[in-house]
Amino acid sequence: MSNSTQTQTKADASEQPQQQQKPQVLEEDDEFEDFPVEDWPQEEAEQNGSAANGGNEHLWEESWDDDDAAEDFSKQLREELKKVEASH
């Protein structure tokens, strides 16, 4: 029995797509993946035990900044105000 002739002659709609799907079936693109091990010590976790509180701080920043461009903005603001006043 030759497999290749069989698939070529009898291949129908039910077989073709299924073959194409095969390699990518087990995990989906955007799904939370199974961990390769069931459990792990806290040292292997994202945040290890010693830094349980506050260790996250350097990961988040304030949403505003007092950058050195404050002078520029102040100048820009004065110019814009003049324009507004002139238009009234």
């Binding site: 709609a13 077989e15 989906e28 069931e38 304030e62 949403s63 603001l77 814009e80």
Partner: protein, 453 residues
């Protein structure tokens, strides 16, 4: 029969994971022929008999009679499912993903039946339930894809709605079976050391994934209610393996997130983040995808370079937006939102990110306040910032922030409206003195709460 050797070994050392590996319907790299050799070892006529004599022979292994019967049923169903898997791999005529799913349902049902009753399978075998449930879901998804691909060629003009209802039929059936696995764990009354209650979060996770896939996130609420009702009888979360808990907390976080309950979402996602294995790149990336918008909404903080550095995809997703928020660049913010729209919508994070515009506006107005400088100091008192700011200055800032050209007018009413909105949301503190065209801001470094001025 090598499979029987593996079974006996796993049973003699009572290793759930080893036993679950025996029930896995795929070949392994170090034993690529494992399915075929098991399938060819016997045939339908001698199946039960062969299983009986192979699985339990040997003096060292004592398996109670009822357990023996359960395993023979389970492996008989497994043998048939393996046959379907091999037929599919060999592209036999009539082989199909649907046939595999049908056969695997029998494995699932035999396993569930094995646990039923007072002297069912012991709780240490629970990893079998996870593995069988996981493949039930996988095979159902494949079967649904197969049905869909046939449907589209056979009935090109089928009603869209009908297709939508039908397209997850197998996965919905899988969900009902996995739900029985969930109940099997939750309702076990055995003492906790030997209880199936230890399987509650892992079966819940499997259902969460399934409900998300069939777009029935609402159904997760039923599971959470059932777990809560039993919570006094469950061990604390910290007693469970981290893989169960990280997955559970992640989905719990996303469920709250989709309900726009960002504070709770942040709590669960933070727990998941902290406990997640450092090597689980994809999962860490997924947790952050939701945790970052949560942080923006609840604490108005942005991800640091350090946090995003290992995740170029997230860097691309969030960096432009973060920069515009920080600079108070409203036009840039709107552009970044529309540039990322498709991706944001797909990941269901558009809504919370949109709230970042208020933060950007707050930062722009905060710059006006800073640019206003200080009042004349009185009697050696520390300098106080100018807290009465003309509305016109905010209007001018808005022209800068929106890159308004010379001819575009910024309506003062509109500016007042934006200011009132920020005050209402607690991002600014003060009031509008309309008759004087002034904003009177709060003194003592509380004009823009939480930002130091």
């Amino acid at each position: 029969m090598q499979l029987a050797n593996e079974f006996r070994h796993a049973y003699s050392i009572a290793s759930g994971p080893d036993l679950a590996a025996v029930l896995t319907p795929i070949a392994t790299s170090n034993n690529p022929d494992r399915l075929r050799s098991f399938y060819q070892y016997t045939n339908i006529q001698y199946l039960t008999q062969d299983l009986h004599s192979n699985l339990f022979h040997g003096k060292n292994l004592k398996v109670p009679k009822n357990e023996q019967a359960a395993w023979v049923d389970i492996f008989a169903a497994y043998w048939e499912a393996v046959g379907e898997v091999l037929r599919c791999e060999g592209r036999h005529p009539g082989a199909s993903a649907t046939a595999i799913f049908t056969a695997w349902k029998k494995v699932s049902n035999a396993l569930i039946k094995g646990y039923a009753g007072s002297n069912g399978l012991p709780a240490w075998t629970l990893p079998c339930l996870y593995t069988v449930g996981k493949f039930l879901r996988t095979f159902a998804i494949k079967a649904d894809l197969e049905v869909a691909s046939q449907g589209s060629s056979d009935f090109g003009f089928q009603d869209d709605l009908a297709v939508d209802v039908e397209k997850n039929a197998n996965l919905e059936e899988a969900a009902r079976i996995i739900n029985r696995m969930f109940t099997l764990c939750l309702s076990d009354r055995a003492p906790i050391e030997e209880s199936r209650k230890w399987g509650i979060y892992e079966t819940t996770n499997l259902l969460f994934k399934t409900y998300f896939k069939i777009n029935s996130v609402g159904l997760t609420k039923n599971l959470l209610r059932a777990i809560n009702a039993q919570s006094h009888e469950l061990p604390p979360l910290s007693a469970f393996p981290k893989s169960h808990i990280v997955t559970f907390e992640y989905y719990l976080g996303v469920i709250h997130f989709l309900d726009e309950q960002y504070t709770q979402a942040e709590e669960h996602l933070t727990t998941a983040w902290r406990m997640c294995h450092r090597g689980a790149y994809k999962n860490r990336e997924l947790i952050l995808t939701y945790l970052i918008p949560c942080h923006l909404v609840t604490t108005h903080t942005l991800p640091s370079k350090q946090l995003l550095a290992p995740f170029p995809r997230l860097e691309q997703l969030f960096r432009p937006l973060s920069n515009c928020i920080r600079k108070g660049d409203l036009v840039g913010f709107d552009q970044a939102m529309s540039a990322g729209e498709a991706e944001f919508v797909k990941r269901r994070i558009y809504l919370p990110l949109e709230r970042g515009r208020d933060i950007a506006l707050r930062n722009l107005f905060r710059k006006v306040f800073i640019a206003g400088g200080f009042e004349e100091p009185k009697d050696g008192q520390p300098p106080i910032r100018r807290t009465r700011v003309p509305v016109a200055e905010f209007a001018a800032a808005l022209r800068i922030g929106t890159h308004a050209t010379g001819r575009t007018r910024v309506d003062i009413d509109e500016v007042e409206c934006l200011l009132a909105n920020l005050i209402y949301k607690g991002l600014m503190k003060g009031y509008i003195a309309r008759e004087r065209g002034m904003i009177v801001l709060s003194k003592n470094n509380t004009a823009f709460p939480g930002t130091g001025v």
